[in-house]
């Protein structure tokens, strides 16, 4: 096994990894490698055959494979990018040695100057949310079911209940209906949907599929195959309302109860993780707390628009290339970015100083709960950086704001982000 050397090594060939590879090349990296464990590039997009991808980037409504295809072709055309598919990375060391295995190449060992994590995320399962009942066949995560229907051609069920109204749950409600299955209902614990508004309209309302907000599943019936579920209302504290229980017969329960960034490799390297995003803490270059290790895409925080994933890939790819060439500004100090009232998460979690003249940093934020007519404020001790009115804010839709770094001085201490109802927030 002879070791190969690269400027930038990218783990994961989804949209984040693909964008990172292209931008790393553009920023001067000579040898880039993408390691992807699946048989082809594209990541989760391969199974997303619905449209709605690329509205920002290409001003076009593409399907997932359509969007991925554009990037894959550019990557394949670039001889400075080596692609290993069916190559599962099992270990990464602090000295940036990477070990992967593949059925065709056996053990792959390589070394890089900079590493980008772009491993995406995985789905939360039934066990994590403790639904009582049996463990029959017919309980699937929505993403696994999506892959089976769209790529392999098998149906997970014909009479379906979906728990969770995030985008995957919503998209699968429409998908299963189009395949001829009956979707009894989508059940959501929270008093609001976690998905994009357009998906609530296009996937549920257009098909008259009931959405039970503030409800949960209290029992899975059936010993061998699912025969039904019990559903009950929950109160403001998410406790079951006695007497509200009803039964829905079904042969399949799809779970769309959250995505968790896939940070096994990062964790093994002691990269600092953010307890709320479950991804690494990064700065505006998407550099993690371990020098030379970058991250982008769903591995950092779960995105709802692939355009933002590609954008984050661009940033990480460029920064990694600069790092590999010794051109990335060496940070002297960090300013933390903190989510406070109304905001649940913010990425990047810190800004490294000094910043370049005219540099702008884009913050990605998620609201704590839905608000109509609210005010987003971003402040430092030196004063307000941003104040903006938002007609609607939803936890399911990322809030994006650019701040110019000129106003951030080394003694600004921290940057605080809040989202307040307009009645309270002045303005």
């Amino acid at each position: 096994m002879n070791k190969q050397f690269f400027d930038v090594a990218i783990i994961g060939g989804g949209p984040a990894g693909l964008a990172a590879a292209l931008s790393a090349r553009k920023a001067g990296a000579k040898q880039v490698v993408i390691l992807e464990r699946d048989v082809e590039l594209g990541g989760i997009l391969q199974q997303c055959i619905h449209n709605g991808f690329g509205l920002h980037r290409f001003q076009e409504e593409l399907t997932g494979p359509g969007y991925a295809g554009r990037f894959v072709r550019m990557v394949r055309a670039d001889t400075g990018i080596t692609v290993y598919t069916e190559a599962m990375v099992l270990e990464v060391a602090k000295d940036k040695t990477i070990w992967a295995v593949s059925p065709t190449l056996g053990l792959i060992q390589l070394s890089a100057r900079a590493v980008i994590f772009a491993m995406g995320c995985r789905e939360r399962t039934r066990g994590a949310i403790r639904i009582p009942g049996y463990r029959p066949a017919g309980v699937f995560t929505a993403g696994a079911a999506q892959r089976m229907v769209n790529m392999e051609g098998f149906l997970p069920g014909k009479n379906i209940v979906i728990l969770g109204s995030g985008d995957i749950g919503l998209i699968m409600a429409r998908r299963m209906t189009l395949e001829g299955a009956k979707v009894q209902a989508v059940v959501e614990l929270m008093p609001f949907s976690n998905g994009l508004t357009r998906n609530v309209v296009q996937c549920l309302e257009d098909f008259a599929i009931p959405l039970h907000l503030s409800h949960t599943i209290t029992f899975v019936h059936g010993r061998e195959r699912v025969t039904g579920v019990s559903v009950a209302a929950v109160d403001a504290n998410r406790c079951i309302v006695p007497g509200s229980e009803f039964y829905l017969p079904c042969d399949c329960l799809l779970l769309s109860v959250g995505l968790i960034p896939e940070n096994e490799l990062s964790r093994a390297m002691d990269i600092c993780l953010d307890g709320l995003t479950n991804g690494p803490v990064v700065d505006q270059y998407r550099q993690t707390c371990v020098s030379g290790f970058f991250a982008a895409g769903n591995v950092v925080h779960v995105h709802d628009l692939v355009d933002f994933v590609s954008e984050e890939g661009d940033i990480a790819g460029r920064s990694a290339a600069l790092f590999a060439n010794g051109e990335l500004p060496l940070e002297k100090q960090y300013i933390n970015v903190k989510a406070e009232t109304g905001i649940r998460t913010v990425v990047p979690q810190r800004i490294s100083l000094p910043t370049a003249a005219g540099e702008k940093v884009r913050l990605f934020m998620r609201a704590q709960e839905p608000l109509t007519r609210s005010t987003l404020t971003i402040t430092t001790t030196a004063g307000k950086l941003v104040e903006r009115k938002l007609p609607v804010a939803k936890p399911g839709e990322m809030i994006v704001a650019d701040i110019s770094t000129e106003k951030i001085s080394p003694d600004s201490q921290e940057i605080i982000v809040t989202l307040l109802p307009q009645s309270l927030g002045g303005a």
């Binding site: 066990g127 229907v149 997970p156």
Partner: protein
């Protein structure tokens, strides 16, 4: 299916007890048939229990439980190498929180010494907290039992059965015993859906169903009450919370809710105890989970509930007087019961097998040793545990070692294929999981489940739609319906 029309011994029930009995009997020149009603062995109590090799201080010295626990624990030390069992000799602690508990520990110490348990010691609070820093700070002391261990209970069941099969025994799955033919007060055969197997000797190792089996032979001498125990299993990321098995001081009815590591580096809490009438009721319940959490918090206050990956429950097979029932039936000679095998049945299984073998001999079965009995199972490489050099050469010999199917547990396609084609190989998705751990990690098969389904379909030469999750009617997928409703692709 089965073309077997006669056997020297038919063992009913493919749990740890039936499998250990079959393996013990396979030392002798006998035709042995092991019958299992389900799609796989180890699908009853033997898959859902605390997985502890108890030291043996719980039971009163005179009963079977006490004797066979200590003997079984010792036998596992020999069997570990032969059968390639996953065992961790972690030791156990029974912790006390007040003077009443402390008195109980002293009783247990004396009883344990009478039972022949070595190395028992009473530890003070500081000693206990030095060993287990995450325990509740209000504990006052503990009984330390160095001989206790943890084991993979289904892995052990497979290991016994595989060795029995290597030594000539026949395993028939999806083959329930429907009736026992009794002629003139003696066993004459066992009826199955594939016909009658003529035999003079039957071992009843049917777990919670052992009383039903006895009734088939006209034996009403005992009944089995099922008592459910629920568990919550945690991710490996929290493995270091405890280092050994931690029990509370026991009450009159149960050893209480415990917290323990597993041999695969997970952690679990449980079980509670609920008497139930329906012997198929293994549903997890909200109340049960609450009880388990409350109980475990008494031992370890900071429980990582967000790291839960699954829940499961098992049924204790409790007999009236609480001891194992090991004897020949008076209603049907030649029928030997291994019934009422509740805890510590897993620990005692190899010793129970020796007792059953002796009972069969007393009942007239001729035992002559086989010259070529091979006590050992071959070692199966677990990719995850190997060095890079070993991995590299395995992939060179078989490229399927280079294809990782289960991400969480790093299980390769080669291991899955081997698990399907080994003696008593896997036939279901959960069967693969119990043999090689594909799907037992934090994503619980979310990613690899469909791939394992496809591998099973290919290797067993059946359609995808016939692959089952676990039990007989647990098919996973339907054929996709023909349709013209694809959303048009833009490129």
């Amino acid at each position: 299916m089965s073309t077997i029309s006669k056997a020297d011994v038919v063992v009913i029930g493919g749990g740890i007890v039936g499998a250990a009995v079959a393996r013990e009997l396979s030392r002798y020149q006998l035709d042995i048939v092991l019958l299992e009603a389900e799609t796989d062995i180890a699908m009853g109590t033997s898959k859902a229990n605390s997985a502890i090799l108890h030291a043996g201080f719980d039971a009163k010295p005179t009963c079977w439980k006490a004797r066979l626990n200590v003997l079984g624990n010792a036998l596992y030390r020999q069997l570990q190498d032969e059968l390639k069992l996953h065992i961790g000799w972690t030791g156990s602690l029974v912790v006390a929180k007040d003077p009443v508990d402390m008195a109980v520990l002293e009783e247990l110490l004396v009883r344990g010494q009478q039972n022949g348990v070595n190395g028992l010691a009473l530890l003070g609070r500081d000693e206990v907290l030095a060993r287990e820093p995450n325990l509740a700070s209000d504990i006052t002391g503990a009984l330390w039992a160095p001989t206790a261990g943890i084991i993979c209970p289904f892995g052990a069941t497979f290991a016994f059965a595989e060795n029995a099969i290597r030594n000539g025994a026949t395993l028939l799955r999806e083959t329930p015993a429907l009736d026992i033919v009794v002629e003139n007060g003696r066993v004459a055969g066992v009826r199955t859906p594939q016909g009658v197997i003529n035999t003079k000797f039957v071992v009843n190792a049917a777990g919670v169903r052992a009383d039903d089996i006895a009734r088939l032979a006209g034996d009403e001498s005992f009944t089995i009450q099922a008592r459910k125990g629920e568990y919550i299993l945690f991710d490996r990321s929290v493995r270091n919370l405890v280092n050994s098995v931690i029990f509370p001081a026991p009450s009159k009815i149960s050893k209480g809710i415990l917290i323990a590591p597993t041999v695969h580096g997970n952690l679990f809490i449980g079980p509670d105890a609920q008497n139930i009438d329906d012997k198929t009721d293994i549903a997890a319940t909200g109340n049960g989970m609450d009880r388990v959490i409350t109980g475990a918090r008494r031992l370890v206050p900071n429980l990582p509930l967000q790291a839960a990956i699954t829940q499961f429950s098992g049924l204790r097979a409790t007999a009236e007087d609480g001891d194992f029932i090991l004897r020949e039936s008076e209603a049907a000679r030649g029928l030997v019961h291994a019934a009422g095998i509740q805890s510590p049945g897993l620990t005692a299984a190899p010793a129970i097998a020796q007792v059953v073998s002796a009972l069969l001999k007393e009942a007239g079965l001729k035992l002559s040793e086989k010259r070529d009995f091979n006590p050992a199972n071959p070692l199966k490489p677990a990719f995850q545990e190997l060095s890079w050099e070993q991995r590299s050469s395995l992939i060179a010999s078989n490229p399927l070692y280079g294809r990782v199917i289960c991400r969480c547990e790093t299980v390769t396609e080669a291991e899955i294929v081997a698990a399907i084609h080994s003696p008593c190989g896997a036939r279901t998705v959960d069967g693969v999981k119990r043999r090689v751990r594909a799907g037992s990690g934090r994503c619980q098969g979310g990613f690899c489940g469909p791939r394992v389904t496809a591998i099973l379909a290919r290797e067993l030469n059946i359609p995808m739609t016939e692959v089952r999750k676990d039990s007989i009617d647990s098919r996973l997928f339907f054929d996709k319906l023909p349709g013209n409703c694809e959303v048009p692709a833009h490129e």
